[in-house]
Subunit: 336 residues, 2 copies
């Protein structure tokens, strides 16, 4: 492989000149620049990443710690990962993928050995053990999610509390007096993943604010899970006229169950989903939904990382306001 010395020799300049052509950190005459660039192209030269990292003290690589369980939430996670990689590339960075299974160890490893310049961590729990670790690393970090005590680390997330509130408010404004919440799988609550709790809190706030009756349950992401969850809600809230579904995988089974039991959406029961837009659009009916803007959040996290890398300080946390898209799965509550 060609080295910078080969390029320098071919162009008849010193290696430092080649380096400055590449980095633009010092003025270079057009003539020299042209010769150097020609040699680079001719030799197919690419700077050695390791050498660069060693001398330049940065790698242009980001670490992304993602929950690579294949069981739940797959589409949202995929959106995050995709958008982080894409956004990172637009800043000329690459992405090293870590699984959350490795926990703190993975973060310490890649940061400690200077493999990455910064870290993005997904699937944050309320009291996430990785936060103290992140804080003592020398690399900047951004969380996708919101722990109880970010302690100086930037966070980026959907405002799930507000999303919960919005969903219920929409239903209440349609005159519904009872609302059931089909929540994420129990495992999500058990891990203390904060978005579930925050959503629930916003949901409860709105229920109180509007003086509604409610029932909420976690839901396994299978047909049987959806069935069981719906049954419990029906039991606790006979004649329930509105449903909020914060569980992508349960969405499709749920609609099947409603249809086959003769309950029409939205005539008999109104439904609001919390899910990525494309999931909502793939459903058998036009589904009113509060978007989980995975693409936007991933890109935002990368932008935040880049500004930290640029040296801008401060741990801004941004919670995106939810936006509810009406698609017709909510109707006015039946009178009486």
């Amino acid at each position: 492989m060609a080295t910078i010395a080969d390029v320098a020799a071919a162009a008849g300049v010193s290696t430092s000149t080649v380096s400055y052509v590449l980095s633009g950190r010092r003025p270079i005459s057009p003539a020299t620049r042209a010769r150097v660039e020609a040699s680079i192209a001719e030799l197919g030269y690419r700077p050695h990443a390791g050498a660069r990292a060693l001398a330049g003290r940065h790698t242009n690589v980001l670490a992304l710690a993602a929950p690579l369980r294949s069981d739940i939430n797959v589409p949202v996670i995929m959106q995050f990962v995709t958008s982080v990689v894409t956004a990172a590339r637009s800043y000329d960075h690459d992405v090293l993928l870590l699984t959350n299974d490795e926990g703190s160890a993975g973060l310490e490893r890649v940061a400690g050995s200077a493999m990455v310049d910064a870290l993005i961590v997904m699937d944050i729990e309320s009291d996430d053990a990785r936060i103290p670790v992140l804080r003592r690393l020398r690399q900047p970090a951004v969380l996708i999610g919101l722990p109880n005590r970010p302690g100086g680390i930037s966070c980026v997330d959907l405002d799930f509390a507000s999303a919960g509130f919005t969903a219920v408010a929409h239903l209440a404004e349609h005159g519904h007096r009872t609302v059931g919440l089909i929540g994420p799988p129990p495992a999500v609550y058990q891990r203390g993943t904060s978005y579930a709790t925050r959503f629930l809190a916003g949901f409860a706030d709105a229920v109180e604010e509007y003086g509604l009756a409610s029932a909420s349950h976690p839901c396994e992401p299978t047909f049987d899970g959806a069935l069981a969850c719906l049954n419990r809600i029906d039991e606790e809230l006979p004649g329930v006229s509105a449903l909020v579904v914060h569980n992508e995988a349960a969405l499709s089974p749920l609609l099947g169950i409603l249809r086959s039991s003769g309950r029409r959406v939205p005539e008999d029961v109104s439904v609001v989903a919390i899910c990525p837009e494309d999931v909502a659009l793939g459903l058998p009916i036009r589904m009113t939904s509060v978007d989980i803007p995975g693409h936007q959040l991933g890109a935002l996290a990368v932008e935040r990382v880049m500004s930290l890398l640029r040296g801008e300080r401060g741990a801004e946390t941004r919670l995106l306001a939810p936006s509810l898209a009406e698609r017709g799965s909510c109707a006015d509550a039946p009178i009486g």
Copy 2:
């Protein structure tokens, strides 16, 4: 951050000795080793990855080029990614994630700049433009998928032709004489992604072998897509008694459609799905399926890479035999 020189000083040895303790490439006395290891622990020393890459000529990083579209096939892709990362870690390697959007450029970039030791490429098209590129790289590569002309590059995949055959054979052995195939989305065929074609070929072979009547169509991964596809099959093959579904996303809508049109599975129509096991198990009914062993394939690809890295030559391609799990969604064909 502590360097190897700090560790050496603390342990009262030379840096080369520390290096040999770490690499095990030369004998070290137990006493020295102990002192060095103590210093390492005390200083929290971690070798600098860049320096290592520069001096040692390898990075312990693998590139994984994955199709990060969030639209289709999400669960399978997630399985691949997860298992590649996990397997790589078990060999003390990390994974740099590339999107297929970058195409050959991404591969050339990370290989050319020596960021990675080897590459794993997913979502291979029959005549994939990346193959010649891969061939001229100095790093070993493994394909997850099967192009027409691998040209000396190792491949790993499910034997989709055989999977297609198996599915039809199973149905034929239940006495079915007509079989419809609900295929992947049109985009998959258009890209020339080889698994779709291979599956179709195996399907056709079996149809001929058993003398069946068949109809097959691509299918958009939405409710409407599934409906349209099923309608076309019904039209072309009135009274069709068996369905093969090679489209995860269409599975759940399809079952809903069948149920609400009063067709029972398996009494009125037998169904075989081609999908990962956990997708099959999450369905409303117990679904007989041919497994897409994502986890196994990812791990296999990594093993192959590792053996190439070890210097073993030869471009073995492994097509895993499909395994059909009977779960009761196929019954004997109605008589007459």
